[in-house]
């Protein structure tokens, strides 16, 4: 594995009184594409949110480039070079497409330019003056991904980017994610759609009840498919 970019150890998280994560641990090397797989409620989304610092309470250790972030607020974490694309996409209805794209501030040099992002997502350029939430589901997903490419963030946290989208769009998003990996982005992907995840990821962490219960590399998946299906309940 390449140099470790993100390392999570004994991560615990709470929503109000409910204890959601019970000691999650995993790591990602620079340039890797890693997924968190698991059933609904296994704690995948909460893990992403905890890494980003947007849960009410978390303990344990989350280091990014060796810096401990677990006690930092989310804006400080973002400025280290992490960018988050939420499951519900979080497109702002009071902003048009281009304002949505331009919203996240630059945190580091070396992000993609607006014209590169429009090359990747030509639909967004056509509709750049439309209200953000007037786009189709697929376009909104592309906007949510495109929005975090400008900032210079090196680690992208993508929460179920394929959820609720037509197969042809899912395929397009798969191509885009592969292109982003090719550009050197490190990606942590949360997915329910294992078939999609298997086409893009280097490694998979499988989560159950707020823990990581297994790790598989892309090469292991074929021979362990039965085990994996049991984990995911498919």
């Amino acid at each position: 594995m390449a140099e470790t970019l993100l390392k999570v150890e004994d991560l615990q998280a709470w929503y109000g009184e409910s204890h959601i994560l019970h000691g999650v641990g995993f790591e990602i090397g620079r340039g890797e594409l890693v997924t968190l797989l698991g059933r609904n409620g296994a704690g995948k989304t909460t893990t992403l949110k905890s890494v980003m610092g947007i849960v009410e309470k978390r303990t344990g250790s989350v280091t990014f480039e060796g810096k401990e972030t677990v006690s930092q607020p989310s804006d400080a974490i973002a400025r280290l070079g992490l960018a988050y694309c939420p499951e519900e996409r979080g497109i702002f209805s009071s902003l048009n497409v281009e304002e949505n794209l331009m919203l996240p501030p630059m945190v580091r040099p070396g992000g993609m330019s607006l014209s590169e992002i429009y090359q990747l997502f030509p639909n967004l350029q056509e509709r750049r003056r439309s209200q953000g939430t007037k786009l189709s589901g697929g376009e909104q997903q592309m906007l949510a991904i495109g929005r975090i490419l400008r900032t210079g963030a090196t680690l992208l946290l993508l929460d179920e980017p394929t959820e609720g989208l037509a197969p042809v769009i899912v395929q397009r998003i798969g191509e885009i994610i592969r292109q982003l990996k090719g550009r050197g982005f490190t990606i942590l992907l949360v997915e329910q759609n294992f078939h999609f995840a298997a086409t893009v990821a280097d490694r998979h962490y499988i989560m159950e009840d707020g823990h990581v219960v297994d790790i598989m590399t892309a090469a292991d998946v074929k021979q362990n498919i039965g085990k994996l299906q049991a984990y995911l309940g498919v």
Partner: protein, 293 residues
Amino acid sequence: MFELIGIPPQALFGQLLLGLINGAFYAMLSLGLAVIFGMLNVINFTHGAQYMMGAFAAWLLLGILDVPFWASLVLAPILVGLFGVVLERVMLKRIYHLDHLYGFLLTFGLALVIEGLFQWKWGSSGAPYPNPIPGGYNLGFMFMPTYRAFVVVAALVICLATWYGIERTKLGAYLRAATENPTLVRAFGINVPRLITLTYGLGVGLAALAGVLAAPIQQVSALMGTNLVLVVFAVVVIGGMGSIMGSIVTGFGLGLIEGLTKVFYPPASNTVIFVVMALVLLIKPAGLFGQTK
């Protein structure tokens, strides 16, 4: 023609001008209230007291340091805005996660305390502020005092500048986005707590600016903003909570409606705004320009 319906034109236009000027103040004040509500989720009932503080700041700057009106127009809002920043940092930020009622109690209580302190120090009879541009024009059908015309134009400029700042600039985009989803905006690396403080400071500064503009028209007195905040709150509700254009249009519009009511049926002039509010809420609960969530 006007005599046909029994209203002399001087009275009609005089009241319309008065309505327009009141409307200008409603618009400026409701704008600040709307922006603050959008960001802080707090209805700032201290707004009237902060408007009064603006007028007092100008009056004190003139009386003690001999600062002219035009300099106070800039200085007073900055001073009162900074007071707002302190208020937000020390008190308001502690109640954002609570029910609206707590915000109401805190800001309403603060208004009472501030007004009480000013009343204790300077009494409630009020002091005059000299008119910086005396004189006026005879328009044929009415006399137009220069300063009043200036206030209407200044209020329009201030309202449009605020609208531009919020709808067309980067800072405004942060503001709009943070109003919708502060958690996500913060996760993009924007310091949302600081943005909230800044918003409150700007909203309070806007109230103080209105206060400075009001000083030469009204008596500068501790209670000059007390009743105003209720009307302005009604304007925000009619315009639609959090809608910028709604606040501007509704502010001017209601000032005019109030003026017309004074001409045609004076006893209703104090209540007409609240009647309009009740009607609007019956037909469009989110307000004229509001979006249902």
